[in-house]
């Protein structure tokens, strides 16, 4: 699949945003962090900023962004529609929660309930995002039981990185968040590693034989494509990353996405106090960059069954 920048940015940014929102909600409601103005301002700006920027970016991907509102209508069947609805719905409790925190300096009680509802919304939205992909039967690498866990753990992980940074900067259970981030990072890595192993070893779902129905007559090879130039489907669905390149990128994602951040987090844990801000910040940046690489690969490594009409033997 063609890795479109807007979609990669959308899913990673909003994933981190929702991860952060999720943690803010729980932490706020549980009083794990101070409901200070600074924490709240920066935290919610960051969370809403990431979410909103992501959602906006995703509309760049649309041919008719001005009609984006229409995407709400089909929540009965469409995960994309559900995602939109969930995202919008989440804004309400999360917004109230932010209001309580920032304006009234209170994140618990009734405000905390809003916070937890916001967290729930965040999880729901990320699940919807994941389901957009996981529900497509046409792309084996997406239609995986692990797709949702991948989205969730990475969202949680990147959110936790920022949360760790916030609490390092503005107080709270900083080391808990550090360790949470480490844990989330490692589980994201584990889930993703499992995901990669699955997609690498699993049999393709479709072959040029079943695509054309000619497989029983022998090996099916494309002699001539319908046009000598590329078309939309070939460009959008036909993107293929070279295996060697993909392996390199997986390693990069693992190193900058998890290994480096975890190392930095450990350093931060060791250093402690205000000085931890620097390594945690670097860890957050590195982890986010890793998530972008991971997401790029999520697209680039995905093979669409339609490619079997255009020369691929299987997908």
């Amino acid at each position: 699949m063609h890795p479109a920048a807007s979609v990669i940015f959308f899913t990673t940014a909003s994933g981190a945003g929702y991860g952060l929102l999720f943690l803010l909600g729980i932490a706020g409601a549980a009083g794990l962090v101070p409901a200070s103005l600074a924490f709240g301002l920066v935290g919610f700006t960051l969370a809403f900023g990431l979410i909103t920027a992501g959602l906006l970016a995703s509309t760049f991907h649309l041919g008719r962004p001005e009609r984006a509102w229409r995407a709400l209508s089909q929540w009965r069947s469409s995960w994309l529609s559900r995602e939109g609805v969930a995202a919008l719905v989440t804004y309400a409790p999360a917004g109230l929660f932010a209001l309580g925190w920032v304006v009234f300096g209170e994140a618990r009680g009734i405000w905390g309930v809003f916070g937890l509802l916001g967290s729930l919304g965040a999880v729901a939205t990320v699940v919807c995002t994941g389901m957009i992909y996981a529900s497509l039967p046409t792309i084996r690498q997406w239609r995986q039981p692990l797709t949702i866990p991948v989205y969730l753990t990475i969202g949680l992980y990147t959110g936790a990185l920022w949360m760790a940074l916030l609490s390092a900067a503005f107080g709270g259970a900083a080391s808990a968040f550090l360790w949470l981030a480490v844990l989330a990072g490692l589980s994201a890595a584990g889930v993703k590693a499992l995901y990669w192993r699955t997609i690498d070893t699993e049999a393709p779902v479709t072959t040029s034989g079943t695509a054309t129905g000619l497989g029983s007559l022998g090996r099916v090879r494309l002699l001539d494509a319908p046009t000598t130039s590329q078309n939309y489907v070939m460009r959008e669905m036909g993107y293929r990353v070279a295996r060697k390149h993909a392996m390199k990128l997986r390693a990069i994602a693992a190193v900058i996405g998890v290994a480096v951040p975890v190392l930095l987090l450990l350093i931060a844990a060791a250093v402690g106090g205000g000085a931890a801000v620097v390594p945690v910040f670097l860890a957050a940046l590195s982890g986010s960059a890793g998530a972008v690489v991971e997401r790029w690969l999520f697209f680039a490594e995905a093979t669409h069954v339609v490619t079997t009409y255009y020369g691929a033997e299987a997908a």
Partner: protein, 271 residues
């Protein structure tokens, strides 16, 4: 609407494509493009039409554009034993297609009355998700209009009272020189297309997707290269043997006169 029709209609309009006689001439593809250039989904935008003006999305210098029907050519099997199969591909108007259910806006929908899958271009936001969901590459994105387009099964022809009745078939069907394309109601087991499918073992593409395509493909018939496949004796050998005594072996011109040579030719023939 995005939900599939709750009560699937009994009418399932679609195409049956005969791979045994498709010569891969692209007539259906071009005539489709031509009809639809002025039809329901017009225009069928083309980019870089004369090259040198590569549009943002182009990654080669060729022209490219929106087509609802495309003809591939495959080789099946190896060497001389194999065969070449031309393979036209357009929307299959599936019964349970994901292209419809994934659509967030309701732009992509399946008609209850005849099963045709359409895009309402006034609703479409161009999210392209339906094109990801389609297994058959049948959805064509028009960058300029920012909306998805696709085969309409010529909805603006098949019911069109401004056309003579015989012409109320899809453009690709009426133009196909080899008559490799058939149109009809696959929901009616007695329709001509259903009978054809039953007789010829018409099949679904990628059944594993579970989309239940309405369109069917008729397989190429087996080749007739075996001895006796036309009912002919495997060799003329017996005949040659019977004739052998009458034919001079390897003699040069004009040594065949007289004797019983050419006796068979020497029959009395009347003009």
């Amino acid at each position: 609407m995005t939900m599939l029709p709750a009560t699937a209609g009994t009418k399932k309009l679609g195409l049956v494509i005969d791979l045994d006689i498709c010569v891969g001439c692209h007539a259906c593809a071009v005539n489709c493009k031509e009809w639809n250039s002025g039809g329901h989904s017009a225009p069928m935008t083309d980019w870089n039409a004369y090259s040198g003006t590569e549009s943002t999305d182009g990654d080669d210098d060729g022209a490219w554009g929106v087509w609802f029907n495309r003809v591939h050519t495959y080789e099946v099997g190896d060497g001389a034993e194999g065969r070449t199969v031309h393979f036209p591909r357009s929307c299959l108007h599936c019964e349970t297609p994901a292209c419809v259910t994934v659509c967030p806006t309701g732009a992509s929908y399946k008609r209850e009355e005849d099963g045709i899958v359409l895009v309402n271009e006034d609703l479409c936001i161009g999210c392209k998700l339906c094109s990801w969901a389609c297994a058959y590459g049948a959805r064509e994105y028009d960058h300029e209009d920012g909306v998805m387009k696709k085969c309409t099964l010529c909805i603006d022809r098949i019911y069109n009272e401004n056309l003579e009745e015989v012409d109320r078939v899809p453009a690709c069907v009426s133009t196909c020189p080899a008559s490799a394309r058939h149109f009809g109601d696959l929901g009616d087991p007695d329709s001509a297309v259903s009978v054809l499918v039953a007789e010829r073992g018409g099949y679904d593409l990628m059944p594993e997707m579970g989309f239940k395509p309405t369109n069917k493909y008729l397989p190429p018939r087996p080749g007739k290269t075996a001895c006796g496949s036309t009912g002919a004796p495997s060799r003329l050998e017996q005949l040659v043997a019977e004739a052998a005594d009458a034919v001079p072996q390897g003699k040069a011109v004009p040594a065949t006169t007289g004797g019983k040579m050419l006796a068979w030719v020497d029959a009395v023939l009347s003009r």
